[in-house]
Assembly symmetry: C2
Homo-oligomer: 221 residues x 2
Amino acid sequence: MSSRPANQTADKLLQAAHDLLVERSGQSASVSEICARAEVNVAMVKYCFGSKDGLLDAVLERALRQLTGELQRLAGADLTPESKLRRHVAEVARNYVRVPYVNRLMNERLLAAEPDAVDQISASFAVPARDWYAQLLADGRAADGWRSFDPTLFFFAVIGLCEFLFSARPLLERGFGESIDGDLVERFSTQIAELVIGGVHGPPPPAIVATDSCDPEGAAR
Amino acid sequence: MSSRPANQTADKLLQAAHDLLVERSGQSASVSEICARAEVNVAMVKYCFGSKDGLLDAVLERALRQLTGELQRLAGADLTPESKLRRHVAEVARNYVRVPYVNRLMNERLLAAEPDAVDQISASFAVPARDWYAQLLADGRAADGWRSFDPTLFFFAVIGLCEFLFSARPLLERGFGESIDGDLVERFSTQIAELVIGGVHGPPPPAIVATDSCDPEGAAR
């Protein structure tokens, strides 16, 4: 893997797998299809990545590192915490459409719970994203009085909010007769951004909510 | 399947599969293990459910119908929309711990996108839950001025918010060194309930957020 030609071959395989998976909306591609697209001998998959799963893990890792890179650019931008959070949520949702295999591969890896793949998802995305959330939540709390959240739990909440529409895509399409297109993703990302932004501020003080005072939580059961 | 003894056998198999999957935190059980627990001949799985997958689909459907039954009881309770939403979110999160196979089976079925299994998840849970959300969102809007949300998109957002912690459990455990126990689930369900309740109210009016006016969204890029 250290020689230059092998690296170039690995890059060609990564790019070909990425392109095929994007063209097929995340549905699988065979090793021979990937190698034909990359114009590389099929033996090179084993040589460069150990196996097809190794190649797919590397494709997923590259895509997740790109997401993490976007987060780091956003961290340095001159924006309010609210604007950063709003943009982040929209970026994550759009990313599932732009790179449709991320969601599927990530969920397959998490279902299989294979330690190396899980560690790779942690290192390339989950841990940096959680750390980014920790900083953002602290900034939002200091600047705008956001509520206090555990950054690790916040990571699972926000990523889940963004991703289930895509992992449950067959439900959206068969159960509700909708299809994932640019318009739906924009509507979704606007709605989830509103939900999260409202969420970090928390509910308004009880005095504003007129009906709540006559039926307080806990009294009715 | 129509005769009484076959129904009783089917019930025994459903209960045995449920019990084994709960004991194993959602990890799989073999047909022979399920039949041994049910004290039923292995041939009855094929007779009653067609296959092991048919049995597992029926186990999942039963669990999802119980969740839907809880929703319907909550719909009739004398509670504010906010209290109903708060309880619902906590119930969904706790349900993933109480019945740990629901999340795993549902995600396996959705990944495989097998039409019959997807239709069953729609009919037994997704469509009734979406309809419940539609009513709740309308009630909350009328009574407490909640923002307007598309109920279908709201369904995917809220279920995703509740479920990713469980579907990404290996990430939580290996990546962050946490484990899913009663305490973590209570902390999580409190945080996601706050997030959703704040979310349906939306952000406070801009005047309250002091720093936002000097750095309006869109001006910085």
